[in-house]
Symmetry: C2
Subunit: 343 residues, 2 copies
């Protein structure tokens, strides 16, 4: 085990002081050209690199970003993560990831772990259980402790911090309007339980579109599916009992499940039933027919979140300046594929 070389060792070897070595490597002009050359050559030879931990302790900055997300085996979150990681890496930051697994307790636990000096700031999307419990004291705490925090997608209104969200309501409106424009009249909504605020916003957009087109919202055409462990039979019963000629689904899994069942009943997509989903993942691309879907641009969201966080980290605000928080909206776009009638 060849331990990494330290300033102290270089100093001893070259018979100079630690300060001289440190300054030489920083090319300080306090040090003579001769000495600098000697030290630099030696350091290069032994491949000296300053120890990050020591630097962190000295500077009170870790150059680490903490990312807390509900799930990682999940297309949207991984794209956001990629955006974060990419931007962070370019700026010399590392990313430490904790998965809350949709659990409130794990979220709290993870944040406490990270808040003990491991990171400089947080980027996160809160867990389902946290939204359900409606308890955000752990978020408030890290903010009070002075950690910059950026919330994305599943954000909390009552927490004051930077936020990155999607225009869920508007894009749901547009998606619904698109199907109405196709001539569809009875549009179903396939969604999750309402404590997910993004699902709620999508439902709002859906309803607004119907109203704008003079169609009454039929509550029977809303299918609420559990967040996890969807049984095919739920959808089956819905398709059996209700008549609809289009469907807006809040994620791509619901959409392809619905498509499969609809097709099994002998109905054609999109002629008999148009379908639009959310999340432009593999499923949307490779389903038959391919799925018209809302691209959430997760990577952009991630980049923006990272940018906001790093901006806060590197520009310490003055003593009397008021902290100012921004909310950035990333515009989702509708990707038209085979599950809708495209002209």
């Amino acid at each position: 085990m060849k331990r990494k070389i330290t300033l102290k060792q270089i100093a001893r070897e070259l018979e100079v002081s630690i300060s001289t070595v440190s300054k030489s490597l920083k090319d300080s002009d306090e040090i003579s050209a001769d000495t600098k050359k000697k030290v630099q050559a030696f350091a290069k030879l032994y491949n000296y690199r300053p120890n990050n931990i020591a630097l962190s302790l000295k500077n009170r900055k870790t150059k680490n970003i903490g990312v807390v997300i509900p799930d990682i085996v999940h297309h949207f979150f991984t794209t956001v993560f990629r955006g974060i990681e990419k931007y962070a890496n370019e700026r010399g930051y590392n990313v430490v990831v904790c998965v809350s697994d949709e659990s409130y307790e794990k979220e709290v636990f993870n944040m406490e772990l990270l808040a003990n000096g491991s990171i400089d700031g947080f980027i996160m999307s809160v867990s389902a259980q946290t939204q359900q419990k409606n308890d955000f004291s752990h978020l408030k705490e890290v903010v009070e402790q002075g950690f910059p925090l950026v919330l994305f997608d599943r954000v909390i209104d009552e927490i004051e911090c930077d936020k990155v969200i999607m225009n869920d309501e508007q894009i749901a409106y547009e998606a619904t309007a698109k199907m109405l424009a196709e001539g569809k009249k009875k549009i179903a909504l396939v969604t999750t339980e309402s404590y997910f605020n993004v699902s709620e916003k999508r439902a709002d957009g859906y309803r607004r579109a119907l109203k704008d087109f003079g169609i009454k919202v039929d509550e029977n055409l809303t299918l609420v599916l559990p967040f996890k462990g969807v049984e095919e039979s739920y959808i089956d019963a819905f398709v059996e009992n209700e008549v609809f000629d289009a469907a807006l689904c809040v994620n791509e899994i619901f959409a392809v499940l619905l498509m499969a069942i609809v097709q099994k009943k002998g109905l054609r997509i999109p002629e008999d039933v148009s379908v639009i989903g959310f999340t432009d993942g593999l499923l949307s691309r490779y389903s038959t027919p391919s799925l018209t879907t809302v691209a959430q641009h997760g990577e952009s969201m991630g980049e923006i979140a990272a940018e906001m966080l790093i901006e806060k980290l590197e520009n310490e605000i003055g003593f009397h300046e008021e902290e100012v928080y921004r909310t950035q909206i990333v515009e989702a776009t509708l990707i038209e594929r085979g599950s809708t009638i495209n002209k």
Copy 2:
């Protein structure tokens, strides 16, 4: 900004020394019961937590694991990551992730960044470009520097370290044998370029099965697709020109693409063409028909990798003990779904 409280501040406040505070919090019996109570109460009141960075410096352990993977928007890697994260978290470790994006340079850059004290050991799967270049000096270097390293999936034979792999050859054999047992005679292989050693192993298993069943390997039945940016037309031409009644595909994307094209030609799956893929992701589950596929048990691989790494981290070997490296094989399993004839 309420900075976290330190030992020094507690000591000043309570008019005792730093050592006394530290020992009190560790419930050392060097300290009188009275003093301990006082200190502990005060610490609890101010929610004292030792600073991780300082601990890292002192202990020369960060309790961080570095994970370097080629891609994160990828089902298999995310499942492995989940396994790593889960196990690591249980043992009090944090995980810092770097994505090499299949690039040799980024891989090297990331590893150097991490090796400067940010982490205690590596878990990684090498990038495509690294395999292609066949240059592993960066891996050798971190090993020489004393970092425990665990390689998974895309491993390198010439690097001495712990490894977690799948029985690719064997499961490909079994998958092929299954289709032969169905009575299929002309089995296609849809694979990637051969510098991916896992693809190569799968091809080996495929060939061995054919031989065992007395069928000659027909090189024309092997379709080599590029690693990224597959054009549908490649597959289209293949389906047009070759006659086959089954196909083994090295990933699920190839499999669903093939299924779609085969079905478009009016052939039925699995009656006319059986298809088996690799990776039990969303696509396999939700395609029509659902795809018979090889489940790689990424989560287990991740857990095992993390376990191996942490074992090495926590059991420093004695001075003269020989370092011993293990290679664990995670048995893949075949999940039978609609794209094969199941009895």
